[in-house]
Amino acid sequence: MNIVVLLKQTVDLVEELELNDDGTDIEREYLSFKLNEWDEQALEEALLLKDAGAGSVTVIALDETDVDQSLYSALAKGADRAVKLTGDFEGGVSSHRRAAILAEHLQREPYDLVLIGVQTPEDLDGQAGVILAGRLGVPHVSVAIGVEPLDGGVKVSQEFGAGVVHELKVAGPAVIGVQAARQAPRYVPISRIRAAMQEGGIEEAPAPEVPAETGLKVRRMYAPESSSHAEMLSGGADAVAARIVEIIRERGILK
């Protein structure tokens, strides 16, 4: 089974986000980027499948900021191939555009199963995985928390609210949006990543030019000015603790 994992660099949310001059997008120049955390889960799930002998893993990503680091890291973790699709992605890539590029590329790349993080923090126009499946005309399952081989296809555990899980069987090629891998993503030591870097091994291909409009126009972006903000307590742990006790006692919660 050829397992393809689609990776994306997203803004590291520990950074303070700043807006561009006209306030319609984030200012990407000074931000740091990291692998989308759901993609990290998708990669782990793929590697678990590989460890179980289910096939080979190819990771594919658009050439976004610091993507090499993520691709080498994936290789160091055990991915067999890493493909970087080059192009101009500096202003960010919408899910629709990304799905269109990947769909086009996957015409040339044999795959049996595509794993992708179920979402990214930037999916204003929806999640790329499901749009990709629509373009490819293959089945899709979102919010997967487990993918296992079954009768030539896969069995996918799809998570619903309140802890309910559906098990679905999908035959033939499919796109799975992974919420969480069966195990926490593995650690890969830096020495292995460095070794992967020394070996090189990232294949490059120009991203196919495909027209893809989201149809959305961002009027503005802004930090939510919440209608209410918590009343902040300070003055050290003990003072805060005393104040909390007072508050809950006033409310009659503490008898």
Binding site: G134, E167, L254
Partner: protein, 315 residues
């Protein structure tokens, strides 16, 4: 393009979800006419509880359980002839599968993670939560559009339908996805939705060993410990104790959020609590927007101090 507003009716185990009613409420507020799309097998009876002008009911054995591919095919077939101005889908597991699929199949733009919607002449204006709730985006779309909506954003509508119309399902023989089983959650643990006080821990708790600190506060309060997704994913707490979109929706008298930043998925599950007190060292954490009280003192200092203060107060 018609003026109709489509709402996908989501139902599980014979009950329509709350968020479906919220979507119907918003659709009516926007001026309708509202068309509820009810897909299932033997679920037509659910139409009676839907405050929609029209219910389109599609009954097919393949639709008995949620099969993403089949549902997308049926919905696309409903949308095509009526060409609605707006399709509303909840941003749930079901919604995540369908909204994008419909966008790809019908070529309609999609606005995800919506919390506000309005019509502005020909345009639809939506507000979306992006970057983990750190930013809102106000988006304008002209022409027909699909919106996936965050639960709890709108007021629910109750009532009954104007008309129920049966629609035959399109050919579903090509569907390659098959439903195998439904696995219900383990109910042997506590039911956090029934608890009056929850001491809830997030990623900031750092490790399984520190859950003890929250447990001590919970004991002093007569409360139960719950947690956010990262905590249950890491196995530090049982899955049954997860609060949020993929866990439980809770409404306790007191929700003490410890080291929880307040991602939208989490807020969805607890923002209705009567009293929310949040402890988080990041003063910009979104949890403070829903909390009534907050502190940026380190939870590793506050929790032991709180345990002590509570024990003192009770004694």
């Amino acid at each position: 393009m018609s003026n109709e507003i489509f709402v996908l009716v989501e139902h599980h185990a014979g009950a329509v979800t709350d968020v479906t009613h919220e979507l119907l409420g918003k659709a009516a507020e926007l001026g309708g006419p509202t068309v509820a799309c009810l897909l299932g097998h033997g679920a037509r009876g659910l139409a009676d509880g839907l405050a929609a002008d029209t219910v389109l009911s599609v009954d097919d054995p393949v639709l008995e359980h949620f099969v993403p591919e089949a549902y997308a095919t049926v919905l696309a077939s409903l949308i095509a002839p009526r060409d609605p101005r707006l399709v509303l889908i909840a941003n749930t597991t079901v919604g995540m599968d369908l909204a994008g699929a419909l966008s790809a199949r019908t070529g309609r733009p999609l606005v995800a993670y919506c919390t506000e919607l309005a019509f502005d002449g020909e345009a639809t204006v939506a507000t979306s939560q992006v970057y983990g709730g750190k930013l809102n985006a106000e988006v304008e779309v002209t022409g027909p559009v699909i919106a996936s909506v965050v639960a709890g954003s709108f007021t629910a509508a109750s009532g009954s339908p104007g008309a129920v119309q049966d629609v035959a399902a399109p050919d579903l023989s090509g569907v390659r996805t098959q439903f195998l089983a439904r696995v219900a959650p383990d109910t042997s643990d506590v039911d956090i939705t029934a608890e009056e006080i929850l001491v809830s821990v997030g990623r900031g708790i750092g490790g399984e060993e520190n859950i003890e600190l929250a447990q001590e506060v919970a004991e002093a309060l007569g409360a139960t410990v719950s947690g956010s997704r990262p905590v249950t994913d890491a196995g530090w707490l049982a899955k049954t104790r997860q609060v949020g979109k993929s866990g439980r929706k809770v409404k306790p008298k007191l929700y003490l959020a410890c080291g929880i930043s307040g991602a939208p998925e989490h807020l969805e599950g607890m923002s209705d609590a009567e009293l929310i007190i949040a402890i988080n060292t990041d003063e910009k954490a979104p949890i403070f927007d829903v909390a009534h009280y907050g502190t940026t003192e380190d939870l590793f200092d506050v929790l032991p101090a709180l345990t002590e203060a509570l024990q003192g107060a009770i004694a």
